[in-house]
Amino acid sequence: MANLPLPYAELFQLVTIIYAVIAVAAVLWNRRLDKSSRYYGFSKAFAIFMVVVTVFLVISYIAQATFMKWI
């Protein structure tokens, strides 16, 4: 695993946190919008997308950490 700016596990944690922050921001953005807003549909879909990506990043982290004995 060459060329990474941080050790793989630490970079994985950092990226997961960034994705989680984006997911939370997307959810909050959607909650602030009125249903008649032209961005409502996109913000809702984007929030769902980011939540799903983040959840599967966490699952992947747990799986890899278990296999590689990080935890």
Binding site: V53, F56, S60
Partner: protein, 195 residues
């Protein structure tokens, strides 16, 4: 909410590719649960980003597939220690697969919301067909470059088809069923290939 109509290609479509390509890159770098098979580079595992770019392609057509290609090219490329040929080939396969799936969807007039049993059946069959064709292509290129033997070609196709199909059918189905109706209201939702 109103559904977006079909218009021409707009700069926003490229922005969509860029944004979701970036998201896919992070996922491509980390979110794979690898099932290592000695002698078979990058050919097996639960490839989570596949679920993302299959759904993106049904929402954004070519631009969604491009997002997946950008993501996998950047994400899995320089970091896993594969040769350029292996990861460029893999990223190209990840570009073809969702487009084949999209072609089947357009030909059968299936709805990505997967509300009916017909749509769901088309989704399941098209995912397996497109993933299998992409895996045959990817492993044929690897075989042509001498990276794998023909015996590994067979196992590569089987392992890749199972791993990717499972990821797409689990994550992609979840995304399509929950987010499609909202993305349909987005001006850059694609009803054809490009717009």
């Amino acid at each position: 909410m109103s559904t977006a109509g079909k218009g021409g290609v707009k700069p926003g479509h490229l922005v969509v590719s860029g944004i979701f390509g970036g998201i896919c890159a992070g996922a491509a770098l980390f979110s794979i649960i690898i099932v290592p098979i000695p002698g078979l580079p990058g050919g097996s595992g639960f490839w989570i980003p596949a679920g993302l770019y299959f759904a993106l392609t049904l929402w954004f057509g070519f631009w969604g597939a491009l997002a997946g290609h950008i993501g996998t090219f950047i994400g899995m490329g320089p970091f896993f220690g594969f040769t350029f040929q292996v990861w460029a080939d893999g990223a190209l396969g990840d570009f073809f697969a969702p487009l084949i799936n999209l072609a089947i969807f357009r030909a059968t007039k299936a709805d990505p919301e997967l509300k009916t049993r017909r749509d769901l059946a088309i989704w399941i069959v098209s995912v397996i067909i497109s993933t299998c064709l992409a895996s045959m292509w990817i492993h044929y290129v690897n075989y042509s470059f001498g990276t794998i033997t023909f015996d590994f070609w067979k196992w590569g196709v089987i392992a890749y088809t199972i791993g990717d199909s499972l990821a797409v059918l689990i994550i992609g189905t979840l995304l399509l069923k929950t987010a499609t109706k909202y993305f349909k209201t987005f001006p850059y939702y694609v009803k054809g290939l490009f717009s």
